[in-house]
Amino acid sequence: MTGQERVAEKAARSSTSPALEMRGITKRFPGTLANDGIDLEIRPGEIHALLGENGAGKSTLMNILYGLLTPDSGEILMDGATVTIRDPADAIARGIGMVHQHFMLVPVLSVAENVMLGSEVMRGPVLLDVGEAAKRIRALAEQVGFTIDPGARVEQLSVGQQQRVEIVKALYRRARILVLDEPTAVLTPQETDEIFTVLRRLRTEGTSIVFISHKLDEVLRIADRITVIRRGKVVGELDPGATTEQECADLMVGRSVSLKVDRGVAHPGEPVLSVRGLVVRDDRGHETVRGVDLEIRSGEIVGIAGVAGNGQEELVEAITGLRKPSAGHVSLTGRDVTGAAPRAVRDRGVGYVPADRQRYGLVLGFPVDDNTVLTEYLNEPYAHGVVRDDRAIRKRAETLIVEFDIRAPGPDVRVSTLSGGNQQKVVVAREFGGDKLLILDQPTRGIDVGSTEFIHKRTVEQRDAGSAVLLVSADLDEVLELSDRVLVIHRGRIVGEFDAASAERDKIGLLMARGQAA
């Protein structure tokens, strides 16, 4: 009996009517069909996983459920009756709560203000009653088993704490269907365990939970049922007890995928990048990199694992010249480049794929060809003196489009019209090359499996051609798969170093969370 048949059988036997049904949901965006006749059924008190790769349409479906998007067609039923959800206020009134992937918290407001926003506790018709709100919030947090300071400003909380605020926010509104969009993407393995405990506790109290993820192991661990979505369509329902990671992956991607990167053996050579005692401050003047030493040799990939916001961003910016370090040294192939301008660093043979392609890596309003020379526009043959050579620029773009399999109608279309994966390939195509050092910051965040595989493959090729590669990723799986050596960063310090072969996931997770393994 396959997993799908089992689910069908279970459903037939089950007498409880679904808490929520979505029938034939279709949503079209310019150029894509994000949801194509999706049917989904959530039962009371179950954890239902929605599995699919980036861009499959999971978030779109849930945003429709939450009233943030209007479907082109289809209907939503709750407890058997058709309902219309025009906006989030409707969704909240019907007991739907949502924890978004990018938290919907106002950083400068307090926890209490964030939680009650929109459903304020009042003292008279005009004024807020912050004290009463704080009392209620403490009680709710206790109920699900954690503590929370209602007076703290949200921007001062860690990512894990912010997620708790989001959950309390939903409970405060008496949610009986709780949607969590990629809740573990930014958490350490231990924080993930903690959130799973909370979810199980909520389930026993009768809350239905929709768990959106593309991480197979987690889905198999937590879910009671799994619905797989690919390219806007439901392609299968699975019973976690009767399926495997491989089956899920194949269904999710629609072809057989290899879960492992074929990395081969690294042959490290001469040191390329050497960082000594580096101290860097962030925009607000806080020291976020507090004495980092690291060395990367040619022909090796060094991964930095860490919870987002532990100094990775500032470290990379200090190496690439975008931020002046307040102490310490950076040298490239023996030459000191501490505090050098970005262009000077680049000219020493550094390629850099930034974390946020739309914010840093690309000019979305420019055509593909201008973007392929964004970092080399001054050099021959793309410019002669101060005059640009349009023909050479176009030729470069045409070459890269073929070589990196960029799906674009031509070099003169705007980059903003390309998909996320193809946008990232434009950046990668531009930055990969004969460089001595390659810095990859979140190189595959938010892109499809095909593009991810492609970028991983090219990264290994680049290493084998003799480049030193520095990989920074919030996705621990990616770091472990791709790196020859793993460094763990915690509060601006390197707190652990592992050989790829001997790296233990749990130990790294503890180091990421606490800075020590015990």
Partner: protein
Amino acid sequence: MNLLFIPRLIAELAVYLATVVPDLLPIVLTLATPLALGALCGVLCERSGVVNIGIEGTMLTAAFMGYLTGFALHGSIGAAAAIAAGVVVAMLTGALLGLLHAWLCVTVRADQIIAGTILNVGALGLTAYFNRLIITPSGLGGAGVIPPIVFGLGPIALATLALVGLIHFLLFNSRWGLRTRAVGEHPKAADTVGIDVFRQRYQNVIAGCALAGLAGAYLTLESTGSFQNGMTGGRGFIALAAMIFGRWTPIGAFGGALLFGFFTALGVIVRVRPAGGELGDILAAIPSFWYAALPYLVTVVILAGVVGRAIPPAADGVPYEKEARA
């Protein structure tokens, strides 16, 4: 030249300013009133995420409409009633222009600085056009001015003091204030908890522009009793600087308004109450053009000194798109 010359001069200046405070203060408050109202307009708009550089034009149009109302009605209903009607019309004019600005910025999602420019350019044209057609050829005056109540301050100036305190308190302690701040910082977060971002922004911009309208009424009906083309003279922009100086808080912005009011008052006070001795010679020798230019230059200097450390609301100037793809 004696080395002690500069410090002595500064000491003399301090003594001089201290002695003229009783005369200076009402002038400063008078000059600060339109700036404070304009800055309150800025605070209301920007706290909800809408940049409004059209305060200048809103003030000017409202000043004209208020004056025109008084001009048209004082013959039939008497000066006092005509002035009161003028104040109401000025605020309504402001609110109407606020509606236009909100529509452009919130619904149409036009560039907010361009939207403000439309108000400024349109105000100059419309007021000058009708001024030339209606008021100038008549050769008649307006309804006069509202007489001061206390310390040389009229009702609008006094109301401004109250409004500053009230709006400051409400911004940080009321439901309206919480929602305003949320919408200006993270509109999507507000949207996901059921707050109507568009409505909140419309409300704030319209209310804010009504206050800018009150500033206009102050200029023509409480302060000068006449209308001249372009009479706002950059006050709407100085008000923005005061808002930034006050880090988007009403009381802080009022502080900024007082500061700019002080530098404007300086040119007046050295004529009305000349200082004695060396200092008096120097102050008298400074050309009046310099005194006139001083508030503008001070605005630039203070803006340059302060703004780097002042952080505006995070979503300030960013139009909200409801159906943006996640």
